[in-house]
Symmetry: C2
Amino acid sequence: MDLTERKLKILQAVIADFVRTAEPVGSRTISKNYSLGSPATIRNEMADLEELGYLTHPHTSSGRVPSEKAYRLYVNDLMQKRELSQEQKDAIASELYQNVNELDNLIERAAHVLSEITNLTAFALSPGKEQDKLRYINLLPMDDYSVLLMLVSDSGKVSNTVVRLKAPASEETLRILAKNMTYNYSGKTLSEALKLDIIENFRNDAEAMSMFENAIAPSFIRTLEDMLNVNLYMDGLTNIFALPEYNDIEKARTFFEMINRKADITQKLISRGDGVEITIGRENQDADLSECSVITATYHVDGRLVGKLGVIGPTRMKYDEVTSVVEYLTDNISKAFMLTEGDDDDR
Amino acid sequence: MDLTERKLKILQAVIADFVRTAEPVGSRTISKNYSLGSPATIRNEMADLEELGYLTHPHTSSGRVPSEKAYRLYVNDLMQKRELSQEQKDAIASELYQNVNELDNLIERAAHVLSEITNLTAFALSPGKEQDKLRYINLLPMDDYSVLLMLVSDSGKVSNTVVRLKAPASEETLRILAKNMTYNYSGKTLSEALKLDIIENFRNDAEAMSMFENAIAPSFIRTLEDMLNVNLYMDGLTNIFALPEYNDIEKARTFFEMINRKADITQKLISRGDGVEITIGRENQDADLSECSVITATYHVDGRLVGKLGVIGPTRMKYDEVTSVVEYLTDNISKAFMLTEGDDDDR
DNA sequence: GTTAGCACTCTTCTTGTTTGAGTGCTAATC
DNA sequence: GATTAGCACTCAAACAAGAAGAGTGCTAAC
């Protein structure tokens, strides 16, 4: 089912025009702007392309619109990587190469600049921390009845919980507890720590044991889970208002409601493949995404922490440009993280 | 300019009907549903009310719509506090009385339940930390060239930054630095700490001094600022799609764009009065808010930490109900915070 | 002071018409 | 045999005219 040279060119022209204008593309337009033959010839070719499933017809007397199959062909075989413009690179640099307190902060900025450049809705997932190891555990007295439980992992992720006690704890007890917890958990990965039988280790100290069991342990688990949580950042939600696809208030509404189910989105993102992945229209399974395309890529930090970022938009999108930007961004996140930290020295 | 009893009743009826239906209210409707006289009488009264500025006329042959002045009168003099329904109380309880790691978490939930109950866009501002005192300062070695700077305030707020060093630091140096910082800053409020001349204190230790000046100090300031930041939580953004006021895509767009300028919103909220504050339409100053009403209230935690929460919606809103809910919520946040923490013991 | 009646206004809905972009097909042309 | 000109046909979108309906303001009667 190989397409002739001309058919490919016409298909590409239709895609290019439609992506730009969002209007069905007629034979006249193609004939005028690309020298591929007369309108009649183009029409014949288009009819063939339609029969092959690459183009569709909103109604008898309108121009052609690329099908998902056409976009897929374009993405797989036709499109070429684009070099980013200097402005785009600058925008990314000035957004990423700032001082950040936390890696999450950087990820958030990445989503921001991504949405600005692509004019689409962007999102980024903070790195999964499964492989993080506990590095520091402390119990800090706040007042008589409350203690701050603090955990730090070796990637610098900090999580903490205020624990309420039924009875005041002596500083000594807290010190022992913290020391004991450090001894038992430090160096373990977060997921390992969650699995250990945490009570076992305090058999020989009744007071510590009781406090640990009743108050600390549940908070400890909760804090570990909190550290494991990945965060989803989104930006550019209002960009869709500029798209004719979402001129219909109902469409806009469904989009926002879909994008608001953060847990779903997170899940969907996590389960996507590594590297750049493009899913078009109904390839996305989800009915709410059946008219959208999603482009994601995986970034690495330290060669160990791994997260995802990408955009979501109508199937009519600049696949070449967006793919290039997403790829460029993921390549630069790790670098940016190292550098921005280094910057502190120069302040 | 005192209104007669009947005029007041008619005005109230118009408001009630318009709030419910979003359609201009005609004299027939009022006459039918409230026994206040014949349509003709009502019409005469309405004409008077219009002259007095309480009602307006979209066009000659349509019913009346309450003006901002009418809503203001209603809010000030006519409306009565409503007792929350049991379901509403339950919804709030089940949302607030959960385990939370941080106060911010609770605030976020408050915004969530507020938007669910009112069907409007809700927001909540985490407490200002100006009065928080530094309780704990530590420097934790991560690897040879990076150190985790960690600050804890007495309200349990934790903030941290990974600091990159140019030269490796001995544990001893870090210990001394941390001790020194603790000595100098512990017990100071965050704002005080920001103002102190932080270099002065290390005159007598060249190595510590140099490291502090070059690497730690800037991060220290940044971390303090980070702790002082208030967070803005929003929920129920998509609720506006259900409102006829936002059937127009342009209106929806402006709303979202306005709500997306988080810094502006935060600023605007902070500058609002204490207690319950209601601003109607153009009372909000901001042009983007000229067709909205905003209801906010202040909550307290520990009698010291203070934040705000509220809703934003069209001027046509259930002022009585929303006010009651907002008030009820702020009253319960402090209680909930204490209780949820106590719950840990029972786990 | 209140109300019935009626002419009038203005929006909204429906229906019909026009316009224009674009197709498919046939026949002529290269 | 592929390409192109020509033409009839289709359909959406834009526009206009008319009908329906809700509601008003005013006058005159109660």
